[in-house]
Symmetry: C2
Subunit: 580 residues, 2 copies
């Protein structure tokens, strides 16, 4: 305490009636909080409790007892007491405790060094991107960058080696150099499947021992675990998602063991599955999911399962594991989700399931500064309404045209979700049309061109608003859909349709101008349509919904949408009433 150090005995007898006078620097010495007591003193009088007199003295009205207002040496810890157990990861607090105890240096566990050798003759080092974009046929090597980041997260040091050719001798030499270097773990990525160029297993077998070749997980199946000259060697699968999940399953635990650390598992959360998920028997399958709290349930919506889809990881909020001997899980079934995000963020997530539009990206981006995450799944307008019915989402973007009334959405809402009170807010007006290759080589101009023998179409899935729009026009014009080549070739988003056209899979598809423009395709306008958000009444009180509508009504949001091209924002954010 700030005040005066005294011998307590010299204060005995002080009272309000009989104040006691103490002489400064003879009977009492000024001290501040944290300072040691002057010799011979054993208590402190708080500065608030003294009345200063002239002449280097003060008066007190109350005695102090020995050791009052004094912290004793060793109050916190003393010699021989354990400050921290061994094998403990030092925190900010621990550093303070060590210094407080006079410990300046402690023995620590060496960080394990991990040699990461990318292999594959088709690969280009990503550093080339510094100078120019990739050319056709060049595949950028980025698995080693992700693995390096995982190594560092796990407390290790990553050493990224140059790309090794997909041939036996270079791979063998890389392994040998690796285990003879100061690395503690050698990872060859990839070259671990059963294809023609997969020399990693053969090389490990020649140099040491292959312990495991192939694991019952998916993605990640072709993992190789081996030992060469007493060092662990991992042949990691090449597809990006496989590379990451396999390394997390096998590489990271090795690094934890090397450091004597307990296994860090991800936080978990119970959720219900928004959809049925089928899984193959005989392997543990890892599904990436988006999650969010809708009403009183946490809902998990699966993302595409392809091992090549790195965005299925970057867009994921969590991972569901379907056990080896399960054929999958049903809709609304309880699942255990390993979270890839802060559990608190789950409550900050708006779940959007429905029709796809590029403006959802703009919305997601603008919600970020409000600490709201937009988790959107593209299942088409009708799928969106059905997701509201199963209470799997907070809102559904929809653009379902009623062919009789000419009004969007309301008649579908009445038919498909009559029991759910909803409100509808206007999103954007958008231009729909034909997307064709640059220069329109097949001269496609109208719906009649779709039935030509030399034209292949790419369609949207049943239930998509764009599909409804197509069918409306075909019906109006009396065109039999079965005459259109590719009518049954379905894609789930505007951009997927655009990609099908760009890559030559199809000559034409329907979609919004923004998608055509993004891929530099030509565009023949067909209609302007209304793209709206259907929001259940029960979520209108949710602050996230309120903020989202505010954002949509902001000039900044509208400007960004206009910059995409093909959009109208005059009534964006306005409530749309049903026709009487």
């Amino acid at each position: 305490m700030d005040g005066f150090a005294v011998r307590a005995e010299s204060t005995f007898g002080a009272s309000p009636d009989r104040p006691l006078v103490l002489a400064l620097n003879r009977e009492a010495w000024a001290v501040n909080t944290g300072r040691p007591l002057p010799p011979g003193t054993n208590a402190v009088i708080m500065i608030e409790n003294v009345n200063f007199l002239e002449d280097e003295a003060f008066e007190i009205e109350q005695a102090v007892v020995p050791w009052q207002n004094v912290r004793r040496v060793g109050e916190d810890f003393v010699a021989s007491e354990m400050i921290l157990p061994s094998g403990h990861r030092l925190t900010a607090y621990d550093q303070g405790a060590l210094l407080a105890a006079g410990v300046y240096a402690v023995d620590v566990v060496q960080k394990p060094r991990v040699l990461l050798a990318p292999s594959g003759s088709e690969l280009m080092a990503h550093e080339i991107l510094r100078d120019r974009p990739p050319k056709h046929g060049e595949a950028i090597e980025f698995n080693s960058v992700m693995l390096a980041s995982l190594v560092e997260q796990a407390g290790g040091i990553a050493i990224r080696r140059p790309i090794v050719q997909d041939e036996f001798d270079p791979i063998k030499q890389t392994i040998l150099d690796g285990v003879r270097s100061d690395a503690h773990l050698v990872v060859i990525n990839a070259g671990s499947s059963a294809g023609s160029e997969d020399y990693t297993a053969a090389a490990i077998r020649q140099l040491g021992e292959v312990l495991v070749h192939g694991v019952a997980m998916m993605p990640g199946k072709p993992t190789i675990l081996g030992i060469v000259e007493n060092k662990p060697v991992i042949g990691n699968p090449g597809y990006p998602v496989s590379a990451v999940l396999s390394f997390e399953a096998f590489g990271v635990p090795v690094l934890e063991i090397m450091q004597g650390l307990p296994h860090r598992s991800r936080p978990r959360m119970r959720a219900v599955s928004a959809r049925k998920i089928a899984s193959k028997l005989g392997r543990e399958e890892f599904f990436r999911v988006k999650i969010g709290r809708v009403g009183d349930r946490v809902v998990a919506t699966p993302l595409p399962r392809g091992a090549g889809s790195i965005t299925s990881l970057t867009r994921a909020d969590g991972i569901i594991r379907i056990p080896t001997f399960s054929e999958g899980i049903g809709q609304a079934e309880d699942v255990d989700v390993e979270l890839l995000k802060d559990p608190m963020d789950v409550d900050r997530t708006l779940v959007c399931i429905g029709s796809h539009d590029l403006t959802l990206d703009v919305l997601a981006n603008e919600l970020g500064p409000h600490s709201i995450f937009l988790s959107s799944s593209n299942v088409g307008s009708l799928g969106g309404l059905l997701a509201l019915k199963s209470r799997s989402s907070h809102f559904a973007p929809s653009h379902l045209l009623d062919l009789e009334t000419g009004q969007y959405n309301w008649s579908y809402i009445r038919r498909y979700i009559p029991d759910i009170p909803v409100r509808v807010f206007h999103g954007v007006m958008r231009e729909q049309g034909f997307m064709v290759a640059k220069g329109n080589p097949k001269s496609i101009k109208c719906f009649q061109d779709l039935v030509r023998d030399d034209v292949t179409f790419v369609n949207r899935q049943a239930g998509a608003g764009t599909r409804v729009l197509l069918d409306y026009h075909l019906d109006r014009l009396g065109i039999d859909p079965e005459r259109i080549t590719g009518y049954h070739l379905e894609e789930y988003t505007h951009t997927s349709v655009a990609v099908a056209v760009l890559s030559g899979v199809a000559d034409v598809g329907m979609g919004v101008l923004a998608a055509a423009r993004a891929l530099d395709l030509d565009f023949i306008p067909v209609a302007v349509e209304q793209y709206d958000l259907v929001i259940p009444e029960e979520f209108m009180g949710d602050e996230k919904i309120r903020i989202m509508l505010d954002v949509m009504r902001s000039p900044r949001y509208k400007e960004r949408v206009l910059a995409l091209g093909g959009y109208g924002v005059d009534r964006t954010g306005e409530e749309i009433q049903p026709l009487p």
Copy 2:
């Protein structure tokens, strides 16, 4: 897929009855997974499905359709799609997605720079410990090290400045230099209370504006928040726990806002309080607690509340906040705990409440490699038995001597926890005695010396086994405890008693040899006693208990205990049966 790229149309008609022959490098080209298709091809025949013929050709028994076994450009994402929203913290996966999309560089938010200026004339820079231990009266400055670590955890860059004298001008100059440097936040630590040398608030007021002086939290009350030349300045309190908790409450959120990050809150867990916790009205009080799962409940046991006790943070598993307008919480009341550890570790924690002994540190250390955390609270032997009764702990160390039978613990168990079936395992034999200052200046030799006028005693709390031992001997010798000066001065551990003797608060106290030896005190042996572990039958099936008993029976554990001095380990880990 690994195989051969073809025009799908050239395979039409192939069947098992009518295999089709394709010429290599004319009709079919070898490709591997991940490679681009040769021009003019649109499908891949898997290598498993071809029969090689001589002469650069192979046979197939099944046609492929266009785009079979081909991943299309843009399958994962295409131009114009958002890869990541702004204001997002990059993960390992994100780096992969960016490179996959050809993005080599992204704009990032600048790391905020935080200037940390320790102030206090009594402080020594911790770097001095590199060369020598601290002298009497030197206080090692370590708050800035903890704060620097917190700054870095929060994504900032810490700049630790030399220690500033506790005087107005140097503090004012430090603030001025700080806000005119490239730092984004200036922290003066400490100099924020209302004592004589607290110039921080005055200096901020003279240079800019004090927004807040004093906050309704404890520890952390004397926090100052100010603005000088448009930069935030924090006057952080000086007690280590206050320094940390205040910076976490006010500094870290500033850094998050500067980076556009959402507030990261700690994982939370519901628990029940093992004890009543009283709190003052009018401030939010932060209690550090140990937690563990005992049976089906998570139990939180409060640690010492002193703001100077940095070990109350390093030993804590979590923090409980008692709201401003609450007077505290009752025993077994539900509380919300902010976890300082991995939520999974809660299930790996053995909760030990009872008598204190230095061997518990050895045990905690040896359990580490088994990923078991020992969470021990010292409340004395009887307190330990009562904790078993309230199902707050997994086991209770106890050394309660039955004066009639001469047996330890069992009669107390029958009296205090008759309804709880327990088993008892032997811990150690240990030497109890008088701890006196080096050289035994008061010539204390036996219990009779305790009643001497010139001798001050320091006692253990009621319910402690050592207190029972003392009372037993006093009773046996017919000594009235009220004649002993300091009989009512109570400490909770052997080391606290030793510290009381070392610092001159008392001349003598009772405790184990190891505690005396640790603080270099003289020791007069009084008795050898038995220190055991009382374990409820219901936890005997818990793997953590099994491993603990195995560890106690290991030669390595016994060796380490013997090294402390004053212990016998001949029967350590053996089960102790009650007398018939």
